[in-house]
Symmetry: C2
DNA sequence: CCAGGTGGTCAAGTAGCTTGACTATATGGT
DNA sequence: ACCATATAGTCAAGCTACTTGACCACCTGG
């Protein structure tokens, strides 16, 4: 594959990702969750299963723990998460989603599903499934660095 | 398709996009172009064909023209672009790439091709081609907003 | 030819990150 | 049992890439 084709693929991928991010964010806000930014979504993804410590979150997001702590402050202030004492380590705190945090997560899923449905209209469900599997196979596993 | 599957697709897409962005940026820097950020790449893409005005660039990047102007300042200072008088409008300036700017663009293409080659190893060329065409068909056309 | 629109810059403010310094708690070797 | 070192988290200050607001130079149409 020529370099220019690789660049076309890259540009398309980044354009789709940027558009999807914006659509999810807009959709979440339209569902009544104000003051959320895309970065919060990545935090929610890590907090959702069982909660996480600030340091866990920092590694997951690829930022310093101070930045992660500020982000948690913000989520707490806006009612999406709360800090609890950690059951096994008195130094640490377990950050967990509130009910509102869970509702926001569900809203993000709905918004994502809406965008994906449009792709199905363009490509067909079969192609979207193959797209999903291809992406899952090439997705990296490291920290989810939003930087671009 | 269920919401959770849509979310899995979205997460994979964003992870791939984030990883690709980082790989391209790292690759460009490794080829000797210091002080470049991912945002510069999007600017280069708009400047490359025939140059562009600051306002064009601002629309393309989805930022204010002041921000675009600052970015151009930076590119000029680092030797990647230069401002010329606009041939048809004395208010405007045409921002064009320098030779170094073109070299940096080629470096980005090489880095992108490198990443895509790894995907070929995982998926096969045939699947990568189909990935490219699917993405091109669902890519939005608006401003290329890096925000997430 | 001048009224309003557009291209660009200057200046100041802001948000989200960084680095640096510190406290409190945990852990492992002696 | 104790102390040296590592780790979880916070506080404070600084930086950078953006924003909004104000402004000038030049274009365009009645």
């Amino acid at each position: 594959m020529q370099n220019s084709e690789a660049m076309a693929l890259s540009a398309a991928l980044l354009a789709v990702a940027g558009g999807l991010t914006q659509r999810i964010n807009d959709g979440v806000i339209a569902r009544g969750f104000e003051g959320v930014r895309p970065a919060h979504g990545f935090a929610f993804a890590r907090l959702a299963p069982d909660g996480a410590t600030v340091t866990d979150l920092a590694v997951h997001l690829g930022v310093t723990k101070q930045a992660a702590s500020q982000l948690v402050d913000e989520l707490v202030r806006k009612g999406y998460a709360e800090r609890r004492p950690h059951p096994e380590d008195a130094r640490a705190r377990l950050v967990v989603l509130t009910e509102r945090g869970w509702a926001c997560t569900r809203a993000a899923e709905e918004a994502a599903a809406e965008a994906v449905r449009e792709w199905s209209d363009l490509l067909g469900e079969r192609e979207v499934r193959s797209l999903r599997e291809q992406l899952l196979r090439i997705a990296p596993h490291g920290p989810l660095k939003p930087a671009w």
